[in-house]
């Protein structure tokens, strides 16, 4: 590992190196290789603005080439294009496309947000998944996009506007308390929680260099509160999706285990995805054995798909 530090490519903290060594299925060199490279440039075509085929033709005529992402409707991986980059393109500014990581597109897909449903995105800013949810809902039904931070509301509102979302209410609430006003009001709830971000170190290297075990332990308590609140917002028969972009089991398997131990009607659902590499969840961590149901969750590391590392759980509330 010292070799990595010497190269100045990335300098993982001691706690991160310890975690990587302790994860039984982790290939440390592959992980560090993957997070040292930039994430692939991917985007969603925004069908709230124009039909998919029309936007595709427009992008091609402007010199971009790309391929479809098999697990996300409207998702594409950029292959080549003008030097200025798609992030500063007219198409991006007009909201015809939304730039988003390929694995980050999965949670909203897994939630199955159909037109006409009432959907909550509890930790919504900056709005990648909210705009994706609105698109999958075809601007019909009700979407509530919430975030706790006033500074994070601004980009959320801007992105919802740019994507042409009509059926949305943006709220600024502490997600842990959200259930107090909306108990059993939602058909679908997405809780993409704040996390230690060890799956997206390629985007923010400070997540690796500043990581400490304390961060995971502290943030897992917040995640537990958020998932409990999210679950209480759900109608019987409704679906909750929990996601993180990190690796630590206390923020992933541990949080799902916490919910399952307290909500007897919570049932994990299998996640079926086409073309994305995933791996088995852990059966135990730090001497704590997890429910065998947790194997239904989705987990991938950054080197599995040369993209983000993510953990995703799909939970149905008993009716």
């Amino acid at each position: 590992m010292n070799e990595w530090k010497k190269q100045g490519v990335i300098s993982p903290s001691e706690d991160l190196l310890r975690l990587l060594r302790e994860l039984p299925d982790m290939d440390i060199k592959s992980y560090l290789d993957a997070v040292s490279r930039p994430l692939p440039e991917c985007f969603r075509v925004n069908t709230l603005k124009l039909p998919e085929s029309r936007i595709i033709d427009l992008l091609k005529s402007r010199g971009w080439s790309f391929e479809r992402i098999s697990w996300a409707k409207f998702g594409y991986r950029l292959l080549d294009g003008p030097e200025a980059g798609i992030g500063s393109s007219m198409e991006h500014m007009l909201g015809l496309i939304y730039i988003q990581g390929p694995i980050s597109m999965i949670p909203a897909e897994v939630l199955e947000p159909m037109p006409g449903l009432t959907v909550l995105d509890l930790c919504a800013s900056p709005g990648s998944k909210s705009t994706q949810l609105a698109q999958l809902m075809e601007n019909r039904g009700i979407l509530v996009a919430n975030d706790v931070s006033s500074s994070r509301i601004k980009p959320l509102v801007a992105n919802l506007q740019r994507c042409g979302v009509i059926n949305v209410v943006v709220t600024q609430m502490d997600g842990r308390l959200f259930y107090r006003w909306t108990k059993e009001q939602f058909d679908r709830v997405l809780v993409d929680v704040p996390c230690s971000s060890l799956g997206i170190v390629a985007k923010d290297w400070s997540a690796a260099s500043h990581y400490s075990e304390k961060i995971s332990n502290k943030i897992s308590r917040l995640q537990q509160s958020l998932i409990m609140s999210a679950y209480d917002c759900l109608r019987p028969g409704g679906i909750l999706v929990y996601s993180t972009c990190t690796l630590h089991p206390v923020e992933n398997e541990g949080v799902i285990s916490y919910l399952l131990d307290r909500k007897m009607d919570a049932k994990l659902q299998p996640i079926y995805l086409d073309g994305v590499k995933s791996r088995k969840t852990l059966e135990e961590w730090a001497g704590i054995k997890f429910s065998s149901e947790i194997k239904k969750c989705f987990k991938c590391y950054p080197h599995d798909n040369s993209a983000e590392g993510f953990f995703i759980a799909k939970i149905k509330k008993g009716s």
Partner: protein
């Protein structure tokens, strides 16, 4: 005007849309809300009614137009949403002019202007409204954070 518009207030906005842009029945299926800076927003009735049980609402629906001295300028999203209904005060730009528009450059256009505002489009892509100046130029009303000249880093996130 402020808050959810009454039927009379909504009718006034509809008349402006019809007079300025030829948009008829554009707001028929929406509730209309006036927010800060005379911005006109729209959403669905069921969204509005659901919002009554929520706390700390920061925003609701889509900003489609701005009312200024009894005239409406359409936002980029308002122009795209009503695109099939816009019949007048609309100019079709070449791709090069559309790029200049998105950089915020004033354009010399033979604007069929019976209004202080014209909608710009490039094919079926609508680019919002520009203000017609006394100098004969049209000044795009593009929010600063959506101008392409900034080379703004995308709002990409996870």
């Amino acid at each position: 005007m402020k808050g959810v518009l009454t039927e009379d207030e909504k009718k006034k906005i509809e008349e402006l849309l019809a007079n300025q842009y030829g948009i008829v029945d554009g707001l028929k299926n929406y509730v209309v809300i006036a927010s800060g800076e005379n911005r006109i927003r729209i959403t669905h009735r069921e969204v509005l009614e659901f919002s009554w049980r929520l706390k700390n609402i920061a925003n609701i629906g889509l900003y489609v137009a701005k009312l200024s001295e009894d005239e409406l300028s359409l936002s980029i999203e308002g122009a795209q949403l009503f695109s099939s209904m816009i019949k007048k005060n609309v100019v079709d730009l070449s791709l090069d002019d559309a790029k200049r528009w998105m950089r915020g450059e004033a354009l010399k256009i033979d604007a069929p202007s019976s209004s202080r505002y014209v909608v710009a489009k490039c094919g079926d892509v609508f680019l919002g409204t520009g203000r017609v100046g006394r100098d004969g130029l049209v000044y795009p009303q593009i929010p600063r954070n959506r101008l392409t000249r900034q080379g703004t880093k995308s709002a990409e996130d996870l």
